[in-house]
């Protein structure tokens, strides 16, 4: 019963941060990064072994450490889907169809297609379907869709939610850019019209894989939001210790001291719950899915609260386009919205609580 990072995990975190400092612009300038910078960072991350390790050497804890660093630097590469899908598939490698098993040893960039127009984040809302190895349906808010090699699409197979792998540029796959709050993470609506499915996970196995996929994707989004929240909070803290008004540093005012203490509690506890849920997922603890829901719901509110509070500390300057505060806020909101926001997970947990399904600890 302890949540301390191992020496290897600390080393991983430091290495990724160093890599991001060297291979990615400072957070302030990250929004200007073009395809060349993205490619440079992506290749470094692949070289580091993130794709090869996801789900084997690198558990959800390690991947969340990476995601938190990515959020702190406002990096924008198709990492979330690429590692989440591998993490979800890896334990079942022996049972996967060839096309999906091959994915695990490839460098393919991946995005997840889950949300559908008019639907929610539950896999039960799925209407897209696979018939005779062809996918039909529409997915929304697919990130980095133009930059990835494959789309991992949640779709009905024999009437039950399954997972279908589709090559991004293949015939019958039509991408329409969507407006997005965080322009550095482009979102697309993707329409599939009899698109060729390279491989699909059948129901049964798919249930386990999808549960793991949705849990880890939510945790990676939460970890990234936590990193972004810590990033803006640290800048606000430093600003409050220097900025002077009324002849004193503003950070000496009790109103701001107490606000920032509360923000500290939010971001520290947000990271604790993310880490705990990641560990529960890695350990295969019963109820790990519910713990992931707890973490996602909490971080969704907490990260936004931290960003709002930090912006209040900055005052008017944080309302300018030039100031990085809004870049952090945009990333935080994006990650809040994906894979279920607080309201989604609270409804879900409330339903389960009512059904008496979690009489004992969510994940003891």
């Amino acid at each position: 019963m302890d949540l301390e990072l191992s020496d290897e995990q600390v080393w991983l975190e430091e290495s990724i941060n160093t890599l991001l400092v060297r291979r990615w612009p400072a957070a302030e300038a990250a929004w200007q990064a073009g395809d060349a910078e993205r490619m440079r960072l992506w290749e470094s991350l692949v070289e580091f072994g993130l794709l090869a390790g996801a789900g084997s050497d690198l558990g959800a804890i390690e991947l969340c450490l990476v995601a938190r660093a990515v959020g702190g630097h406002l990096a924008a590469v198709p990492l979330l889907g690429s590692v989440a899908v591998r993490y979800a598939l890896a334990p079942f490698a022996g049972e996967l169809p060839d096309g999906l098993a091959a994915l695990l040893s490839s460098d393919s960039r991946l995005s997840i297609g889950l949300l559908e127009p008019g639907g929610g984040w539950s896999t039960a809302d799925t209407r897209a379907r696979v018939q005779s190895d062809r996918l039909t349906g529409t997915k929304a808010a697919v990130e980095h869709a133009t930059a990835v090699d494959h789309l991992a699409v949640v779709a009905l197979v024999d009437g039950e939610p399954g997972l279908a792998l589709v090559r991004s540029g293949s015939p019958g796959v039509e991408l329409t850019p969507q407006s997005a709050l965080d322009g550095t993470v482009p979102l697309s609506r993707v329409a599939f019209a009899d698109a060729e499915v390279e491989a699909a996970v059948e129901p049964g196995l798919a249930e386990k894989i999808l549960e793991r996929l949705v849990s880890v994707a939510g945790l990676l989004a939460a970890a990234e939001a936590t990193g972004a929240a810590a990033g803006i909070f640290e800048q606000a803290r430093a600003y409050a210790a220097e900025r002077r008004q009324f002849g004193r540093t503003i950070g000496s005012n009790q109103a701001l001291r107490h606000l920032m203490a509360d923000l500290h509690v939010r971001q520290a506890s947000a990271w604790s719950t993310t880490l705990y849920a990641a560990a529960a997922l890695d350990d295969g603890i019963p109820g790990a899915r519910l713990t992931a829901s707890v973490a996602k719901a909490y971080v969704a509110r907490a990260a936004r609260e931290v960003a709002h509070g930090a912006m209040q500390v900055f005052g008017g300057i944080a309302f300018t386009e030039e100031h990085p505060a809004h870049r952090f806020l945009r990333r935080i909101i994006l990650r809040e919205q994906q894979f279920g926001d607080a309201a989604h997970h609270e409804r879900e947990l409330g339903r389960i609580l009512a059904a008496g399904a979690i009489k004992e600890g969510v994940a003891a």
């Binding site: 302890d2 301390e4 210790a241 107490h258 520290a268 880490l275 350990d283 603890i285 879900e348 409330g350």
Partner: protein
């Protein structure tokens, strides 16, 4: 990182559960009358101590179990899960015992620690004063050195279990000539000494669990000084941090049992012909309470991990304290809102259940005040974690 219990932790948890279900050792139903309740509670702590569940990590030579600290946490969580009452010598166990172990000499530890564990001698703490609440360092109670003794005059307040205590760990000013934090010492006061007067105060819950304490020329032998002269502030800060750092894990278990109880009450009570629990808004409200309890648990694990691996209880314990108060207050208020009109419908069979929730709600209001107010915790975080400039 280690989430699941080790085999030995699981074995211990099973052992505690077996103990708790044993004939005659079942967690007691508490009489409402305070004197009777004390008798039951002392017997309960003594039984738990005899079984090795009190002071399990304290040194064996002073009556403790000499086991790793994590074992006490396992035990406390099992006790809380079973709805066992808090140990009656809580002040001795959480506050003054750890101070005696850390700052006391061997003679003091031999004399005072064993009866703290067995609840033979109840302890209280004399910290706050009417004019020194959050600003504890401004305390005015004076202990004047006089040869081989001190003579104490002053007044203390919020003295939990004061009317039952055998000893009081008292903070008093022993030196006016130095900075105010440095002039405070910690003294062990025998509550039966001449000049000690205890006046119980009734809390908003209707119970009189704390007292005012008046000290009029109370004589305390020099050997009852804990640590060195002027160490009082240091000792008090250590003990308060200790209390904050370790109380959260059993507390979150208790909150979880309350949440489960609320869910079952909401399932059997009806509003408009439907179980209260079928209302999606009620479900969401209870889910939010669950989330806060879970996050408290996760954050406490992370901070306690540092403590268990030998580190001191650091300022991050203030975050835990804030989350603990938030979770408790959210839960209590949520239950009142969820049960809503069912609390008022006058069903005589439901009176004890309703009283439980009213008392839980009222008691929850103290959670952001005792052991350092919410505002004091924020100040600690602002100073010691965020290093913000002081006012």
């Amino acid at each position: 990182m280690q989430l699941t219990e080790t085999a030995s932790e699981r074995a211990l948890a099973d052992e505690v559960r077996t103990f708790l279900s044993g004939e005659g050792l079942r967690s007691p139903e508490l009489p409402r009358e305070l004197d009777e309740r004390m008798v039951v509670l002392r017997r309960w702590q003594a039984a738990c101590h005899a079984a090795g569940y009190v002071g399990r990590a304290w040194p064996a030579e002073f009556g403790g179990g000499g086991r790793p600290p994590v074992e006490q946490i396992v035990v406390d969580q099992e006790l809380a899960a079973a709805g066992a009452p808090e140990f009656v010598n809580i002040v001795g166990l959480d506050v003054l015992g750890p101070s005696l172990l850390r700052f006391g000499n061997d003679e003091q530890r031999r004399r005072y620690i064993p009866p703290i564990l067995s609840a033979e001698e109840i302890w209280c703490q004399g910290f706050s004063e009417p004019e020194a609440g959050s600003d504890l360092a401004s305390l005015r109670t004076r202990a004047v050195p006089d040869g081989d003794r001190f003579v104490i005059n002053g007044q203390k307040t919020w003295v939990s279990w004061g009317q039952y205590a055998k000893f009081c760990g008292l903070l008093a000013r022993t030196d006016d000539s130095v900075a105010r934090h440095r002039g405070i010492s910690m003294l062990i006061v025998d509550m039966s000494s001449p000049g000690v007067e205890v006046r119980p105060m009734t809390q908003i819950t209707g119970h009189a669990e704390f007292s005012e304490l008046f000290l009029d020329d109370v004589v305390v032998p020099r050997e009852n000084l804990l640590g060195e002269l002027g160490d009082g502030w240091k000792i008090a800060m250590y003990t308060l941090g200790h209390e904050r750092g370790t109380a959260a894990l059993p507390r979150q278990v208790k909150l979880r049992t309350w949440l489960d109880r609320a869910v079952s009450v909401a399932a059997r009570r009806e509003l408009g012909g439907r179980p209260v629990l079928e209302d999606p808004e009620a479900q969401t409200a209870l889910a939010r309470a669950l989330i806060e309890i879970e996050v408290l648990r996760h954050h406490a694990y992370r901070t306690v991990g540092e403590f268990l691996s030998g580190g001191a209880v650091g300022p991050e314990s203030s975050s835990v304290k804030l989350l603990m108060a938030e979770a408790e207050q959210r839960l209590a208020a949520t239950v009142l809102e969820v049960l809503g009109p069912t609390l008022l419908d006058g069903d005589p069979d439901e009176v004890p259940e309703n009283d439980f929730w009213y008392e839980t709600y009222l008691y929850s209001r103290a959670a952001s005040v005792y052991g350092g107010t919410r505002q004091i915790q924020r100040d600690i975080i602002a100073d010691r974690i965020l290093a913000l400039p002081k006012e």
